[in-house]
Symmetry: C2
Subunit: 652 residues, 2 copies
């Protein structure tokens, strides 16, 4: 008898599991369909639908089918049981039901008004992801990949503008949306279109912050295919990457902001606490992410020099790279910081330092691995967005609110781009032209991040309305603006073509370069541009201290640090690794800084070694400059000669 | 007030999540440590510890720390609550606790005697994976990778022997272990060393079946490094791959076998039901897995010919490949079959057909992707094995039982290898030498599959003892036999060195070949060997019908099928794809079968096109033969000329 019962219970478990397999299978089929469709579209050069748009449309159709074809079945779920003995919800609950103990895992708290949603269709419930999956599994690879592929000199060239758009712009956008929505909600309550739930100003700001995360993935993919102007590409890419980080931390800070008394009143203490919170979390996540990348760089650097044969094991290298990057995310989460922000800066730092130390095989492997993870995760999210429109149980559609939100989003984007561009143009030598500004305005799509932030908290009714609205705005902007990119480019007379390839380092692409001589001349003027002071400070520090410490490039620390620092410098250049080689050959390799001035722009910057140097170091040095993530791109940099002192002395 | 409560509950959730991050972080650090250690070992050519062994040792240490350093904290868990209203355990439970509704997710059923285990340390509980993670996340990539890398002519050459070892051998091993353990248990009960729980004969067989899954991952890694004899490598690799599938299905069938009355009595009906079950599930999973691979081959084949430009998008190709292979797993699970077996045969078929249709970039990407997933999953499992020795809550150590099990495992391995080898040698022209047999005996390590099968069900006390014993045997065999491989090879006088590389297709490796002329001469005799009849039937069918249908290789179907089948043949060669090209050029490409006889062994088998053929097809044909997963390796094959009829007629 007992045997029989167990057999039945095993079958039950199987049943639960098979359900899971069916749901995953549905997702797989949606993705396969998407890929096949996109394959067809790409073949016919049909650019009105990016794969993300396709994924979304298929998701929509599938959601519709699940919603209206499957029947509601599971009667039992939806009943709320009482348990007087429990005082709070434990993480694991053991319940004795008809003399059999069952283990239950805590999932979440449910508001009373949402209980009804659970009485519905079991299939709908099953197709609903746990929101934490987005933040902990799907977003990290996307964000890391964005950071890891940011390895472009154009990014640092436009650093000032990008930072302005990302930080100031996002803050402006958040506040503008918040204010407009607050006015809108007040008006709607006044004309009786909205019941007086507590839709506070903080809820409006919350909506504003999450709607400020732009995600021009479709636009950028088309830019990439059409080889649109590199500066425009960089501005948009840089902005969207950093702006995600800002929006995520901002949303977190706002959701924590809780004035003690009247939730509508302004509470200075709570406000400054939130601001402090924002800064603390942002800085902490930044530090966490980049320090993991620095550790990776050091390990790979040590292995490269000390055990040169170890790049024979690219699998170990790739594994280490992957695990350390993931650890950055997990450590940040464990420390109460924001993992996604950490992983973004980890990616940027990995690309800047570690990438140069990797073996060629590992370089390719890591790139392709994250590219693939990004591809899958992105399509899953967009597919799920389409699905969620019909399968999410607690939608609150309010057409007026949605209309107001659309207006607010556009006004906010406009008051981000145009005023900031005007201010930046005052400082920039190479102005951001009018048509670029229009294109940036047009490219303010909302995507995965906004969706993930909105679905994270759908407990209260205001949050549910926020979620529904956010979802619709994402669908609308991705379909309409994503599809309209090519016509818009033509209409705005933004040059594109195959002569200048976005995403490819110009130096690597000499043929393309030759063809675009005129464009290059234009670039040369560009480069004596805007954020030169910021760039120069950073470049000097990076080139003199960080690069030598973490990679093979640049002059040895012993020559860049002041003479009295020599003992420390020699310690830091790790005698076990870099120092050894220096001593072995008793030669030093110094980049001749004069080389790094004007003629840098013209393709070949072969560094001239000051003395005869080992092949190994020279090769790495060269490579680093060709890979030139921080290449100078024609800046008139006048770094002091760091190789002033006689080298043999400093090593003695 | 409500706000405050919500804030607290959000913090609670965060707390839960941070716990999850900490555990994952611990795993990450263990893996990073493992990689660094192995990196060091490899550098010093220290072969006594494979990475899996290292992972296990670090896991052990970490388990020890967690067990004895962290304190028990969570007092509340472990209390069993009563709920009279519930009649059965629903999948989702809503509970009203102090006027707040919480959602709980069904996890599992717990036996009464295991409830105490839950009163312990919360950290230990948290570090315990859900057993289904092994079967649904960690094992599939390992098994798929094994299948995908099975692309070796040596495998098909030794097909008969491998099938014998895998099917007959595993069955023998299972029965021998079961019988010995049953005798042992009886004896132990007799001398009072074992309480009379119901340790039935089925439990013994269950133990036998799961302990029959060999996993010589360490041994094979060392073979690969040392370039041990290819035939020995293939025999071991093929056996271990197929044997996993057999053991998994066998274990499932035995756990379902439940005689109605006396559990110790033999019930013929139930027995034959189990056998039928085994055959049905095995065949079903095989069909499911290979049909997904065939679909992938067809899609990639169509794309290759019809839209030749589509190999420009390796990401889409790789994505499709990955998703379809995963779907094979999920479909099998959803249909109540065994996903892992399906994924294994999917991998084999993908390697045999789809691989030839992929673009070079995708070939590399898919290989590297699965290699990486295999690497990570394998290390996680071995790491967890070490950990589980100390963190699993319900171990039942019984030294006598463990000793008996070790003896049984060795006896079973011996009665698998030696008698079967003897029988096989009767049929084989190239005998399996004595020292190979000893080496195969020695390489019967137990690994990830045995562990995963054992941890899947640890509800009852016999199953717990089985789990503890299996875990210890895995630890023991991996450490002792894994470490002893190199000395054993020397001791058995098995030639190894760098002249003949395992895992590399001999033809690709001409230099190595020249050096090993004598070895090659020996091989030539080998090849007129054992499973020729099986091989010949399969080869003929595959070459004449499957390869032309699914890839670019081989003669067109129109020439291989009888003349009256021509309409069907033309339909099947898909006029949209292959046929189009044939018509366009009005030429047909036929492999001259004479070429495929004796002189095939001598490196260059450039097929001679019967008529002038398109470059495209010729190139693919050549490549396929060089990649030659099913290459002939010197078989004296005398296939009939299939190009008998005039080609133009058959196309008219």
């Amino acid at each position: 008898m007992e045997k029989l019962k167990k057999y039945v219970s095993v079958k039950d478990e199987d049943h639960f599991y098979h359900q899971g397999a069916v749901e995953l299978l549905i997702f797989n089929f949606l993705l396969i369909l998407t890929i096949l469709t996109i394959w067809l579209f790409k073949n016919h050069r049909f650019r009105f639908l990016h794969e993300t748009g396709g994924a979304m449309l298929y998701g929509l159709v599938m959601g519709l089918i699940i919603r209206y074809v499957t029947k509601s079945s599971d009667v039992e779920s939806g009943t709320v049981y009482e348990c007087e003995k429990l005082k709070s919800g434990p993480s694991t609950l053991l319940i004795n039901i008809t003399n059999q103990v069952y283990e239950y895992q805590y999932k979440r708290e449910i508001s009373h008004h949402n209980v009804n949603g659970h009485q519905g269709n079991a299939m709908l419930q099953k197709m609903t992801f746990d929101p934490s999956i987005f933040f902990n599994i799907l977003l990290p690879p996307i964000i890391f990949h964005a950071g890891y592929s940011l390895k472009k000199r154009h990014f640092f060239r436009n650093l000032g503008s990008i930072l302005a758009y990302a930080f100031l712009g996002t803050a402006i956008s958040c506040i503008v949306i918040g204010l407009i929505m607050y006015g809108f909600v007040k008006a709607m309550v006044h004309i009786g279109q909205l019941k007086q739930w507590e839709f506070h100003f903080t809820d409006c700001l919350f909506f504003g912050s999450l709607m400020s995360a732009t995600d021009p993935v479709t636009v950028l993919a088309i830019f990439h295919e059409l080889n649109v102007d590199t500066d425009l590409y960089t501005l948009l890419f840089g902005e969207s990457v950093l702006n995600d980080a800002v929006a995520i931390v901002l949303t977190h800070s706002i959701s924590i902001y809780s004035p003690k008394e009247n939730p509508n009143a302004f509470d200075a203490a709570a406000f400054f606490q939130s601001v402090g919170n924002f800064l603390g979390i942002f800085a902490g996540s930044f530090a966490m992410g980049s320090s993991y990348a620095v550790v990776t760089a050091l390990i790979s650097f040590m292995h490269l020099t000390k055990f040169t044969k170890l790049c024979e094991f690219p699998m170990l290298e790739t594994g280490l790279f992957f695990l350390l990057s993931w650890s950055a995310f997990l450590s940040a989460e464990a420390a109460g910081l924001t993992g996604i922000v950490a992983v973004l800066f980890c990616g940027v730092t990995q690309a800047h330092y570690t990438y140069n130390n990797l073996s060629p095989d590992s370089k390719m492997r890591t790139k392709q691995l994250f590219e693939f993870m990004n591809f899958l995760a992105e399509n899953v999210i967009f597919c799920y967005m389409g699905l969620a429109l019909f399968t999410f149980q607690n939608h609150i559609f309010n057409p007026l609110f949605i209309f107001g939100a659309l207006v607010a989003v556009f006004v906010a984007r406009a008051s981000n781009i145009y005023p900031l561009s005007f201010l930046l143009n005052l400082g920039r030598k190479q102005k951001i032209p009018r048509n670029f500004q229009h294109m940036m305005m047009f490219s303010g799509l909302r995507g995965a991040i906004a969706f993930a932030l909105a679905i994270r908290d759908t407990d209260s009714q205001p949050k549910q309305m926020v979620f529904t609205t956010a979802l619709l705005i994402v669908l609308f902007t991705v379909c309409v603006f994503g599809g309209g990119t090519t016509p818009m480019l033509t209409w705005l007379h933004i040059r594109f073509g195959f002569f200048y390839r976005v995403g490819v380092d110009p130096d690597e692409d000499l043929k393309a370069k030759a063809a675009s001589q005129s464009a290059s001349d234009l670039d040369k003027n560009t480069t004596k541009a805007e954020s030169a002071w910021l760039f120069r400070i950073w470049y000097g520090f990076d080139h003199k201290y960080l690069k030598p410490l973490l990679t093979h490039a640049g002059p040895p620390l012993t020559s860049t640090l002041p003479e009295w620092c020599n003992p420390v410098a020699r310690l830091l250049t790790s005698p076990s690794a870099y120092g050894d080689q220096l001593k072995d050959d008793d030669t030093v390799y110094i980049i001749n800084n004069d080389e790094l001035t004007e003629n840098c722009e013209s393709s070949a910057h072969t560094p001239v070694p000051a003395q005869d140097s080992t092949d190994c170091i020279q090769a790495t040095g060269k490579e680093d400059i060709q890979e030139g993530d921080l290449g100078l791109g024609g800046y008139k940099l006048q770094l002091q000669h760091t190789a002033g002192q006689p080298q043999k002395n400093s090593l003695a």
